[in-house]
Symmetry: C2
Subunit: 192 residues, 2 copies
């Protein structure tokens, strides 16, 4: 959508290795008014599907998930990355390889928060190779929950995640799809 | 405040080791309507102090920070716990011992997002021994930023963090202060 593409052009920075830094508004410093627009856009797209939970992975998906959930008036459940002393023994787990972190990690979600009666919207700030989203989908599969849609702020269209998920029949709605980025710092979008 | 105490009594669970589990509404599954009330309460308390940023630590502070920031119409900046390939070389760092994780970790914040012209509200879901909050305060000190106040959803009054911060002159506003918890599961509050 125009508002996300414009913000990326204004404040996004291209870094070596096809990295798009959006840390001034999306995933370190957060522009909450912008994220509210994201939540509204996801609501407009996915309302009426019986969604009763918004799912994401910590940490940069949480803000988007909360602002989306405000419109739906449903809870957020976020998959955790770190082991803590404070998580239920009874959890769904899935192994994820992170492009950002350069290593594998496990995502976990307490079983009591997701089950076969749930219809969920999965959201995240980025979709690239799609491993984090696969982890969430795997957790939903273990839970028997229905995935009604996937909402993404920025999709890296030159990586396979979006294409694979759509080919499998998931309704993936991305507010901006980056087609390619130049070393000069220019960013080119494709139609979302 | 009444609404937070009532929710803790309804859904909070006492666990051995003085753990209060609030994972069904505050830090794993999130009741966004409740968190919106938290944000409003913090805004009512801290408005008019020139706050231009809301600071927290990932991950369970992010939701509260975003819903608070909506009322203030200012950005959120969250300190990160994990090293990623994607963080600026130019960062503030502080070492934190976590009661929850049982180990030390480093919190980091990119320097470009905090400086001497900033007046900040620090928020988090829990205040216990206060180490995470000390890490944030340390970052603010390195940045030269002014801490206008501290907003906490649940304070464990039987641990020293709140008392020490107030003794040092910080304006700590906690929506619920747990006085003590019984093995039976009963939870007792003190006046906030």
């Amino acid at each position: 959508m125009e508002f996300m593409e414009q913000r990326i052009l204004r404040d996004g920075q291209v870094r070596p290795g096809n990295i798009l830094k959006v840390d001034s508004f999306l995933n370190h410093q957060l522009d909450v008014d912008l994220l509210d627009q994201v939540g509204k856009a996801f609501y407009d797209r996915f309302q009426g599907r019986g969604i009763n939970k918004i799912l994401t992975v910590e940490a940069s998906g949480i803000a988007i998930a909360c602002l989306t959930a405000r419109y739906f008036h449903v809870p957020v459940v976020f998959a955790k990355k770190a082991r803590s002393k404070n998580i239920d023994g009874d959890t769904y787990t899935s192994l994820v390889h992170s492009f950002t972190y350069g290593r594998d990690y496990t995502v976990t979600m307490a079983k009591k928060f997701l089950g076969p009666n749930d219809t969920v919207l999965l959201v995240d700030d980025f979709l690239a190779v799609g491993k984090a989203m696969r982890g969430l989908i795997d957790i939903c599969s273990q839970a028997g929950a229905n995935v009604a849609g996937i909402g993404i702020a920025i999709e890296k269209g030159f990586q396979e995640g979006g294409k694979e998920l759509r080919n499998q029949g998931y309704d993936v709605f991305s507010l901006a799809i980056v087609d390619h980025m130049e070393d000069s710092g220019e960013i080119f979008f494709r139609e979302a």
